[in-house]
């Protein structure tokens, strides 16, 4: 009897202990998601008090909407520009800095600085730099006889410009992640590789560095992908989706529908679709990271 009483007391205590965390998760994540889902099934707007249940109408509208297709296309195109750079440039920088002895910490700090700054404020600095008339970048290009680029004004260019700004802000962060991964690789593996004849930089990279960096690389790839799909602040500040919707990305569209056009129901449907994409990435990471760790 005494044992089961003790057990019951402990079980009750356990529930009390997880209660605050459970409450927070429910209030901050689960309930809002359910509310957004319910909202996505209505035609609720911010400007009228009446709303009606419309079933999957919002989703049907979404998949038939040209504006939605355009935003999705823009987002994927932007991700395609951003991801290889965010991954490869950071990795190359990390390997180069890792081999530095003297200036390593200085370089680390320099590359990490953009991460510590506020992107919204820095976007204005970039706007000044990339100004088509008096911007430093165009002025410099013109000094060398190269015609200036209308960075934010041309439909074909604007996503590249946004990708450059995002790269500037994320490379330092990814580089630090890669540096941590590189530091964790035992030195004697490189020595064994040198004894075995794998002393060419490419051999060292493909035989030791890359396989040992697997989990870090997966983490960087997934977090960078999520960052790519979350693109919002620079768009909102610099282009407002223009010119002619050329930089209207997914999250910005959701914002427009909800807070500019007040179509809360439709905006909720868009948000849920976005959540689904992010969830896929997270799932991908959870499934493959464990399998990639072999030690």
């Amino acid at each position: 009897m005494a044992v089961s009483t003790l057990q019951r007391t402990q079980t009750r205590l356990a529930y009390w202990l997880i209660f605050p965390a459970t409450l927070l998760i429910l209030v901050i994540y689960v309930v809002p998601i359910i509310l957004v889902f319910l909202a996505s099934l209505t035609d609720y707007t911010l400007v009228t008090d009446n709303y009606a249940f419309v079933g999957l109408e919002n989703y049907r509208k979404m998949f038939g909407d040209e504006v939605f297709a355009n935003a999705l296309g823009n987002t994927f195109f932007y991700a395609l520009l951003f991801l290889p750079g965010a991954f490869i440039i950071s990795l190359v920088l990390a390997i180069a800095i890792q081999e530095q002895k003297q200036f390593r910490s200085v370089l680390e700090v320099l590359y990490f600085l953009p991460v510590t700054s506020t992107l919204a404020a820095m976007a204005l600095v970039w706007a000044a730099l990339m100004d088509s008339g008096q911007g430093v970048i165009n002025n410099t290009l013109e000094t060398f006889g190269i015609p200036g680029v209308n960075w934010f004004g041309r439909e074909q260019v604007v996503l590249y410009s946004l990708a450059i700004i995002s790269l500037w802000s994320i490379i330092g962060f990814n580089m630090v992640l890669f540096l941590a991964g590189l530091t964790a690789i035992p030195r004697n593996l490189y020595e064994a590789a040198a004894m075995d004849g794998a002393d060419h930089p490419l051999d060292k990279f493909f035989r030791v560095t890359w396989p040992m960096l697997g989990p870090t690389a997966m983490f960087v790839a997934v977090t960078s992908s999520i960052t790519a799909f979350k693109l919002f602040d620079t768009v909102a500040i610099l282009t407002q989706g223009g010119p002619d919707r050329a930089s209207e990305v997914f999250l910005y569209l959701a914002f427009l529908e909800g807070f500019e056009y007040f179509n809360m129901g439709y905006s909720a449907a868009l948000s849920l679709f976005f959540l689904g994409i992010i969830f896929l990435f997270a799932l991908f990471q959870a499934l493959f990271t464990d399998r990639n760790v072999h030690y």
Partner: protein
């Protein structure tokens, strides 16, 4: 066919000098151990031989040719690392194949997936697989080729590391404390296997260890290092029986050699109240090294402990305690009338020792020393050779 010569190797890390002027010759097919306490520079010396570290000055020669400027892979040296340094993401077979892949394939064929795509890669594949399987059979790990290192026991990993080193047919085999991560039982077994490997391969071995037992049992010659200095190089028994200095005498032998202070007096040596029949020049104090196994207990009070004639000097010892080691016992005590006379005696469990209690109760013991087994050192620890010891011995025998 590989002779290794080290000429005046010097190495510092920043301000700290780790190797002072080390010169060493390793003959073809010889097994030489570099032994010393941790931090003595033995691993650094091995890494200099391997080419993983460059000496500040001095030269490394293999078969008379300087290799100091040569990268590790071109020295044709294999190395087994202390923690094996196996590639965790590769199978055992791939680990062992690595040196061959690097040696047989050009760079483009070594890139990911190119091995099966390029004609070069496909042509070399049977040779690589064949060589790996041959060595794996020899080391009895051929059933493990598909496993990852994480799935192996310590002993198996050790074999894979050996296999990876053997597979490319090196001239010189370097080992950096290869047994230190194994448990005691396995260590003895692998020790035997390494000795057999040395005998069957006929390769030149350089073996780094802090364990004198490993060094003594496996090597043709032992090189003893201390704080970056080479103290003595010689056959295991030379280091034991004829050490050049007190440091060597202290390092070799377990339990450690007993050291007590005697006084030179009228050409002889006095220990406590006893004048030892040793002729030693000079005057003043002298350090006497007595191996724990060179002391014979002849008498515990009331118990005769030894048979046979007594012809060496006899001293008395105040017994402190006895440790039972199983096959033998270790007696802790101190020479009577000697200020720093602490002494340990290793004795067999024969005859009188078996009589329960007698030795345990004895407070004082009579021991016999053999003058030929005594080692003498000056205050700085340099070895002193007694004069005409052989004459004394002959006199004793006659």
């Amino acid at each position: 066919m590989a002779q290794l010569t080290l000429k005046s190797i010097k190495k510092s890390f920043g301000e700290t000098a780790v190797l002072h002027d080390i010169s060493l010759d390793v003959g073809d097919g010889e097994f030489v151990s570099l032994v010393g306490q941790s931090g003595c520079g033995k691993s650094t010396l091995l890494r200099i031989i391997a080419g993983l570290e460059a000496p500040d000055s001095g030269d490394v020669l293999i078969d008379g040719k300087s290799v100091v400027e040569t990268v590790p892979k071109d020295r044709n040296i294999a190395m087994v690392f202390q923690d094996y340094a196996l590639y965790p993401h590769m199978s055992v077979g791939e680990n062992m194949a690595m040196p061959l892949v690097m040696a047989l394939l050009p760079l483009y064929a070594r890139m990911p997936m190119m091995r099966s795509l390029t004609p070069m890669g496909r042509r070399a594949q049977p040779e690589i697989v064949g060589a790996v399987e041959k060595v794996a059979k020899q080391l009895r790990i051929d059933h493990l080729l598909d496993r990852k290192p994480a799935q192996l026991s310590g002993g198996q990993r050790q074999r894979v590391a050996l296999g990876r080193a053997l597979v490319r047919d090196p001239k010189i085999f370097l080992m950096d404390e290869p047994l230190s991560n194994l448990d005691a039982k396995l260590r003895v077994q692998v020790r035997t296997e390494i000795s057999e490997l040395h005998a069957s391969s006929g390769l030149t071995f350089v073996y780094v260890t802090h364990d004198q037992v490993e060094a003594m049992t496996m090597s043709n010659r032992v090189a003893l290092l201390q704080t970056g200095h080479l103290l003595q190089v010689g056959a295991p028994n030379t280091l034991y029986a004829d050490p050049a200095s007190l440091d060597v005498a202290r390092f070799i032998g377990s339990p450690e050699i007993n050291v007590t202070t005697g006084e030179r007096e009228r050409g002889l040596v006095r220990l406590g109240n006893t004048l030892l029949p040793i002729e030693l020049d000079g005057s003043g104090p002298v350090q006497i090294g007595i191996r724990p196994e060179a002391i014979t207990v002849i008498n515990a009070i009331g118990v005769a402990a030894a048979e046979g004639p007594i012809d060496g000097p006899v001293l008395s010892i105040d017994k402190r305690r006895i440790e039972d080691l199983g096959p033998e016992i270790l007696i802790h005590g101190a020479f009577t009338h000697v200020t720093d006379g602490l002494v340990r005696i290793r004795a067999q469990k024969t005859g009188a020792y078996r009589q329960d209690g007698a030795l345990a109760q004895a407070k004082s013991l009579q021991v016999e020393l053999d003058p030929a087994d005594l080692l003498f050192f000056d205050a700085e620890g340099r070895r002193l050779q007694p004069r005409a010891l052989d004459v004394l011995e002959k006199a004793g025998a006659a």
